[in-house]
C-alpha cells in the first residue's frame, strides 16, 4: 500500500469550542489505484487531505492516528521532514488552480522550480523539462505557453499546469482536492483523463476528493464515503454504487441526479449534520438522522467486514 | 446594536478603553467650560509658571492661568473644529465618491481630477494657504481641514462603491424594483457606512492635529483663546528654561485625543459590521 491511514483524528480549536472534525478515519490507497473520498460539505474530506500533508494550520491538530506513506509516518514527521515529503513524494492539486499558482511567475518557471528543487535538475534541464511536462499534460504549443502567466490561461489550462507542477517530481501519492469543481464537464473529462493517465504511467496512488458521487463512480476503483468526520463505508466502486450497505451511502445515492429517472425518484437526506463542537457526540454521527437506527447505535461502532474489501461502519447495515 | 457593542467590547478590551476615553473627551467638550475649576482667561501674574500642584493640577502658564482649566475648555473648540470638518468632508467627499463609483463616466472623471488636484499639494501647506487666503477664522479652519481630507473620503467611498456595484445584491435590488438612486442610497450606502465611520474616526485624529498645527504656527485660533495647539506653541519657549509643564500637558492631551480616535476606528468597524454579530 502506498498510503495507509489508520485512526486519524483531527480537532480544531475555535472560539466556539473544539470541533472534532475527523474521528478515526482510516483507508488505504495502493500504487496506481484511485480511491475517491466522497462526502458533502462538512464531512471532513478536505480536512483529511490537509491533515495528511501537514497543512492544517495553527488551529488544527492531529489528535490520534497514523498515516504511512511508503512506510513513513506523516503524522509523526517533523515540519522539516514534511516539507521534503510534500512535492517530492506526495503532491496535491486544489480546487482553484488559479489561486494555487503564483500569479506573477511564468508557469514554465513554476514547474522548473519544482524540478530543480526535487529532481535536482540544472537550470537548463529544468526549463526543458518544464516544457516537456506542459506537453505531457496536453497543453498545445508548450514552448510558448511556458512563458505565460496564470491569468493568461483558462481555468482548465491552469488546472493542467497545476497538475504538471504536482507531478513534476513523480510523487508516489497525488491528492486531488475537488480538482474539477468549477470546470466545465468537457474540460473535467479531459483533466480527469490526464490524472488517470499519469497515475497509471507513473504508478501513482491517487486520492480523489470530491462531492460528486458520479465523478467518483466513473474515475475511482474504490470509494470511501465520509459523513461528519467518519469514514462510514469503503468498497469497490461497483459494489458501493450497486449495493450500498451504509444507510447514509444509500441516501446519498438516492439524492444524486442520474441520466434517467424523474425528480420524484430522487430523495433528499433528512436531518442535518450533528454539531461537531458537541462534547457528547454519539458514537454514530449519522444515528440522529438515520431511519434504520437501533438501540445499539448508542454504543461504540464496529467495522463490519462484508467481504471483498467492503467495510461499513454501522450496527444495522442494509 | 447595544448587544453587538457589548460583544465587541467584551472581546476586545482595547476598544472598550477607546470608547471610555472617547466618552471622557466628549464629556469634557460638553461640560468643560462650565465645570473648569478656574477661569481659563483670568491671568494671575503672582502665580505665574507654577509647577503642577494640588491646586493647579497641570501647573500655570506665564500669565498664571490654570493649564488644566485651559486644556479642559479647549476640548470643545478642538473637538468642535475636528467634528465639523469631518462631518463636512464626509457629506461632500462621501457622496462625491459614491456617485463617482456608482455612475462612473464623466462624474468619475470630474471627481477624480478634483481629488488629484488636492492631492498634488503638500496637504498641510495647502491648509495653511487656504486659511491665510480666507482669513484665520474658525469656519475657515474647518473648511481647510475638510478640503485636505477630501481625496481620502472620495477614494474610500469610490473604491467600496465600485466593489459593491458589481455585487449580486445590487442586481437583486434592481430586480426587486429599486431605481438607481434607491439602489445607491438604500443598498450600496448602508454597506459602505461602516467603512466610512472608521475613516471618520481616523480622520478625526488628523483633523485635531491639523487644527492644532495651524494654531501652532499662528494661522489658526488666536490667543488668548484656549486651544491645544496654541498652548503647546506658547509653552514651547519655556521648555529650555525648565518649565516643561506648560507645553507638556496640552501636548499630552492632544496626543491622547488623537490616539483615542485611531483606536476607536478599529472598534467601530467591528460594532457596525453585521457579520461580527453573533
Amino acid at each position: 500500500m502506498t498510503l495507509q491511514v489508520e485512526g486519524l483524528s483531527v480537532a480544531f480549536r475555535t472560539r466556539a469550542g473544539i470541533v472534532r472534525a475527523l474521528d478515526g478515519v482510516g483507508f488505504a490507497v495502493a500504487a496506481g489505484e484511485t480511491l475517491a473520498l466522497v462526502g458533502e460539505s462538512g464531512s471532513g474530506k478536505s480536512v483529511t487531505a490537509y491533515a495528511l500533508l501537514g497543512l492544517l494550520g495553527a488551529a488544527g491538530q492531529i489528535t490520534a492516528g497514523s498515516a504511512l506513506l511508503e512506510g513513513t509516518d506523516l503524522v509523526a514527521a517533523t515540519p522539516r521532514a514534511m516539507a521534503r515529503i510534500r512535492g517530492r513524494r506526495a503532491a496535491m492539486i486544489f480546487q482553484n488552480p488559479r489561486a494555487a499558482l503564483n500569479p506573477i511567475r511564468q508557469v514554465g518557471r513554476q514547474i522548473a522550480d519544482v524540478l530543480r528543487r526535487h529532481a535536482g535538475l540544472g537550470r537548463r534541464a529544468a526549463r526543458d523539462g518544464a516544457v516537456e511536462m506542459l506537453r505531457g499534460v496536453g497543453i498545445p504549443d508548450p514552448a510558448r505557453r511556458a512563458g505565460a502567466y496564470p491569468f493568461q490561461l483558462s481555468g482548465g489550462m491552469c488546472q493542467r499546469v497545476m497538475i504538471a507542477v504536482a507531478v513534476a517530481a513523480k510523487p508516489a501519492l497525488l491528492i486531488a482536492d475537488e480538482p474539477t469543481t468549477g470546470l466545465d464537464v468537457t474540460t473535467q473529462a479531459l483533466v480527469m483523463d490526464l490524472i488517470a493517465g499519469l497515475a497509471s504511467s507513473n504508478g501513482m496512488a491517487t486520492l480523489l476528493i470530491t462531492h460528486d458521487l458520479a465523478l467518483a463512480a466513473e474515475r475511482a476503483q474504490r470509494i470511501a464515503v465520509m459523513h461528519a468526520g467518519h469514514v462510514v463505508e469503503v468498497a469497490e466502486t461497483r459494489a458501493l454504487i450497486d449495493r450500498p450497505r451504509h444507510p447514509y451511502t444509500q441516501r446519498l445515492l438516492a439524492a444524486t441526479p442520474r441520466a434517467v429517472g424523474s425528480l420524484d425518484a430522487l430523495h433528499s437526506i433528512s436531518g442535518n449534520l450533528p454539531d461537531l463542537r458537541r462534547d457528547d457526540l454519539p458514537p454514530c454521527r449519522y444515528a440522529g438522522r438515520c431511519a434504520r437506527a437501533v438501540a445499539s447505535c448508542a454504543s461504540v461502532l464496529p467495522w463490519a467486514d462484508l467481504g471483498g474489501g467492503h467495510r461499513v461502519l454501522c450496527w444495522n447495515p442494509l | 446594536m447595544i448587544a453587538s457593542f457589548r460583544h465587541v467590547v467584551g472581546e476586545n478590551p482595547v476598544t472598550g478603553f477607546a470608547f471610555a476615553l472617547f466618552s471622557l473627551l466628549v464629556l469634557a467638550a460638553l461640560v468643560g467650560p462650565s465645570q473648569a475649576p478656574f477661569d481659563p482667561l483670568a491671568s494671575d501674574t503672582m502665580a505665574s509658571l507654577r509647577p503642577p500642584n494640588g491646586l493647579h493640577w497641570f501647573g500655570t502658564d506665564q500669565l498664571g492661568r490654570d493649564i488644566f482649566s485651559r486644556c479642559l475648555v479647549a476640548a470643545r473648540l478642538d473637538l468642535g473644529i475636528a467634528a465639523a470638518s469631518v462631518a463636512l468632508v464626509f457629506l461632500v467627499g462621501g457622496f462625491a465618491g459614491l456617485a463617482a463609483g456608482f455612475y462612473g463616466g464623466w462624474i468619475d472623471m470630474a471627481v477624480g481630477r478634483v481629488a488629484d488636484t488636492v492631492m498634488a499639494f503638500p496637504l498641510f501647506v495647502l491648509a495653511m494657504g487656504i486659511v491665510a487666503a480666507l482669513g484665520n477664522t474658525v469656519p475657515n479652519i474647518v473648511l481647510a481641514t475638510a478640503i485636505i481630507n477630501f481625496p481620502l473620503y472620495v477614494r474610500v467611498a469610490r473604491a467600496e462603491t465600485v466593489v459593491r456595484r458589481e455585487a449580486g445584491f445590487v442586481d437583486a435590488a434592481r430586480i426587486s424594483g429599486h431605481r438607481d438612486m434607491s439602489v445607491l442610497l438604500r443598498q450600496v450606502m448602508p454597506n459602505i457606512l461602516p467603512l466610512m465611520a472608521v475613516q471618520m474616526s481616523l480622520t478625526m485624529g488628523y483633523a485635531i492635529l491639523n487644527a492644532a498645527g495651524l494654531s501652532f504656527i499662528g494661522l489658526g485660533v488666536r490667543p488668548p483663546m484656549p486651544e491645544w495647539g496654541i498652548m503647546v506653541a506658547e509653552g514651547a519657549g519655556f521648555i529650555v528654561s525648565g518649565e516643561w509643564w506648560v507645553a507638556l500637558f496640552p501636548g499630552a492631551v492632544l496626543m491622547v485625543a488623537v490616539f483615542c480616535f485611531n483606536l476607536l476606528g478599529d472598534g467601530l468597524r467591528d460594532v457596525l459590521d453585521p457579520r461580527r454579530r453573533t
Binding site: 458533502e40 481555468g155 466545465d184 458521487l213 441526479p257 441520466a259 433528499s268 | 445584491f169 448602508p190 457579520r275
Partner: protein, 338 residues
C-alpha cells in the same frame, strides 16, 4: 393562436473587448456574448439553458431579466416589446414585477445588512407597495411557500446555511408572484441532498403558481429534471433546442452529444464518444461565416469553415444548427441547399 409569454427574436449582445484607441474612429474588437438568439416560452413552460462557461447563457439570463440592454433584437413579453425600455428604467416598469430572477449565489445576492425577512419584504414593498400588516402577511406567505420556518427570518445571510439562503432567494423572487422566473444556476453551490430539496421546491412552486421558468445550468442531469424544453448554447448561439428528454436521449448536434457524454454518470460506464479537444474559439470578433464549433467538432469538414450552419428543423419543436444533423438518428451528411 395564443400569444406566448416570452417571444425573443434575434437577440444579440456584444461587449467591447478592451479599450478602443481614442485616435481611431474604427470600432474596437467586440465579444459576441449572445448572437441571434430566438426562443419562445409558453405559459407554465420551463426552458433549460445549458452550455459551458462563457457560452453566453448567463448574459442571456441577464438580458431576459432586463438587467442588461441588448445590442439588437426583440424581447416580447406577453405581447409587449420590452427591449425598448432601457435596463436603467426597467425597475419602474410594470413588467418588473412579472419577471423575477433567482441568483446563482444566494448568499452574495442578499444584502449583508438585510435579514431574511428584509430581503423577502424588499420587492414586496417596492413592487407591490405593501406596508405594515399586509407586508408582514405577504412575507410570511412567501416564506411558508418556500419552506422557510419563521424562526429563521430574523437572521442575516451569514447566519443561514446554503440551503436556507437558496430558499430566501427563491422566496424573494416568488413574493411578487412573477409570471416568468429566471433561475441562474440556483443549485450550483449546494450539496446534492440540498439540491434535491431545492429542485423539488422549484418544481412544486411552478406547478402551484403556474410560473414559467428559464433555468440556466451547466448540469444537464439537473436541467432534464426540471425542464420541458432545453436550449444548448455554444459561443453565444443556440446550437440545438428541443424537448428536454428527447434531446438528452438522442442529441443531434455534435456539441450536445459531447456535452452529454462528458457528464459523469453514476453507472460509471464511460460512453465511447470522442472528447472535445482543445479549447473553444475566442469569442472576440468571431467570424459570422463559419461554424464556431469547427476545430473541436469530430465531424467538422471544409464546408463548416465556409458556411455557418443555421438552426434547422429536425422534428416538431426540435432544431439543430449543424450541417450534418440528420432529421433521424446519426450524422447524415446533407447536400448543400440550392
Amino acid at each position: 393562436m395564443t400569444i406566448p409569454l416570452l417571444d425573443v427574436a434575434e437577440l444579440s449582445r456584444r461587449f467591447p473587448a478592451g479599450r478602443r484607441s481614442w485616435l481611431s474612429r474604427a470600432p474596437g474588437p467586440q465579444v459576441h456574448a449572445v448572437s441571434d438568439v430566438t426562443i419562445t416560452l409558453g405559459r407554465g413552460e420551463a426552458l433549460g439553458l445549458v452550455g459551458e462557461s462563457g457560452c453566453g447563457k448567463s448574459t442571456l439570463a441577464r438580458l431576459l431579466s432586463r438587467l442588461l440592454d441588448p445590442s439588437e433584437g426583440s424581447i416580447r413579453f406577453d405581447g409587449r416589446e420590452l427591449s425598448f425600455v432601457p435596463a436603467r428604467h426597467f425597475a419602474a416598469d410594470p413588467a418588473r414585477r412579472r419577471i423575477q430572477l433567482v441568483f446563482q449565489d444566494a448568499g452574495e445576492s442578499i444584502n449583508p445588512r438585510f435579514t431574511a425577512w428584509d430581503a423577502i419584504a424588499d420587492p414586496l414593498r417596492t413592487l407591490l407597495g405593501l406596508r405594515g400588516e399586509d407586508l408582514a402577511a405577504s412575507v410570511a406567505e412567501a416564506a411558508a411557500l418556500c419552506g422557510l420556518p419563521e424562526a429563521l427570518l430574523g437572521r442575516f445571510p451569514h447566519q443561514l446555511s446554503g440551503g436556507q439562503r437558496a430558499r430566501v432567494g427563491i422566496a424573494r423572487a416568488v413574493g411578487p408572484r412573477p409570471d416568468l422566473m429566471i433561475l441562474d444556476e440556483p443549485t450550483a453551490a449546494l450539496d446534492v441532498s440540498v439540491q434535491v430539496t431545492i429542485l423539488k421546491l422549484l418544481a412544486e412552486l411552478r406547478a402551484r403558481l403556474g410560473m414559467s421558468y428559464v433555468f440556466v445550468s451547466h448540469d444537464l442531469n439537473v436541467v432534464r429534471l426540471l425542464c420541458d424544453r432545453v436550449a444548448v448554447m455554444y459561443l453565444g448561439r443556440i446550437v440545438e433546442t428541443g424537448p428536454a428528454e428527447a434531446v438528452f436521449r438522442d442529441p443531434r448536434h455534435p456539441y450536445t452529444r459531447a456535452l452529454i457524454a462528458a457528464a459523469p454518470a453514476l453507472d460509471g460506464i464511460r460512453r465511447p464518444v470522442p472528447l472535445l479537444p482543445a479549447e473553444p474559439r475566442s469569442p472576440v470578433d468571431l467570424s459570422p461565416s463559419l461554424c464556431a464549433f469547427h476545430g473541436r467538432c469530430p465531424d467538422g469538414v471544409e464546408r463548416c469553415l465556409q458556411e455557418r450552419p443555421v438552426l434547422r428543423r429536425m422534428e416538431e419543436g426540435w432544431e439543430a444548427a449543424c450541417h450534418f444533423a440528420g432529421s433521424k438518428h446519426g450524422a447524415l451528411p446533407q447536400t448543400l441547399p440550392g
